[in-house]
């Protein structure tokens, strides 16, 4: 269980290799990578990611601990970037390793759902003709709520 909040990009292949190394009990690894998407089809210049240093690491650690309690996980990894990212760049990743695929999938979805609503990150999109803070989505709250119903 390792968390990084960083400006630098990351290498998914390296992260998964590191996660699974020397553990013969891992049968399944699920990863999620979030990318800067240009919803406007060409006017996005960059995405600015702001976070709350200190609280971010603490919130992510709590989310990961909750996932580790709930599912059979050998290991997990969360990386979230901040700063200015260009269209197509990697924003963040989660990876979960488990003996079983169901656990790996569910834990990865859980990490993503809670990260979306509980980790203090904010996105601002810079377009050719202006800038806007990305609105939070009701669908994200609904996604999180499924784990408690």
């Amino acid at each position: 269980m390792t968390i990084s909040v960083q400006q630098d990009d990351f290498d998914l292949g390296f992260e998964v290799t590191t996660l699974t190394k020397n553990n013969i009990d891992i049968g399944a690894v699920v990863t999620f990578v979030g990318l800067v998407r240009d919803k406007t089809g060409g006017t996005l210049i960059s995405m600015e990611l702001e976070h709350y240093p200190g609280m971010t690491e603490q919130a992510l650690a709590e989310i990961e601990q909750a996932a580790t309690k709930r599912w059979s996980l050998n290991a997990s990894r969360v990386i979230h970037r901040y700063g200015n990212l260009k269209t197509g760049e990697q924003i963040m990743m989660v990876a979960t390793a488990s003996p079983h695929r169901k656990d790996a999938f569910e834990a990865a979805e859980y990490l993503m759902d809670y990260l979306k609503t509980d980790a203090p990150f904010w996105k601002k999109e810079h377009f050719k003709d202006g800038a806007d803070w990305v609105d939070s989505k009701a669908i994200d709250d609904a996604a999180k709520d499924r784990w408690t119903s």
């Binding site: 979030g34 990611l49 702001e50 976070h51 709350y52 200190g54 609280m55 603490q58 919130a59 979230h80 924003i91 963040m92 993503m112 990260l115 979306k116 609503t117 509980d118 980790a119 203090p120 990150f121 904010w122 996105k123 601002k124 803070w133 990305v134 609105d135 939070s136």
Partner: protein, 83 residues
């Protein structure tokens, strides 16, 4: 009581600073919001709709009516949009 008050994203932009020291006698977060909003227009604008503002006391998410107690740090920000 001396508090560090932090603002993020558009809350920060509306208030115009990322962090400030505030002297207050507020018991709850809601009291603090009222107090700041009465001080200057920029706070009143940032806090006009608290349904879109989230609060953390000492880096833990809390409801608006949470007590401040002996906290060192209160933060205001919009709903998160990471991931």
């Amino acid at each position: 009581m001396q508090l560090d008050v932090l603002y993020f994203a558009w809350v920060r932009e509306r208030i115009g600073v990322a962090k400030e020291q505030v002297s207050t006698t507020a018991v709850s977060v809601a009291d603090l919001v009222k107090e700041l909003s009465a001080r200057e227009e920029r706070y009143a604008v940032a806090f006009q709709d608290m349904s879109v503002v989230r609060v953390a006391v000492d880096q833990i998410l809390v409801p608006l009516d949470a007590p401040i107690g002996g906290a060192k740090e209160v933060a205001f920000f919009p709903p998160m949009t990471g991931g």
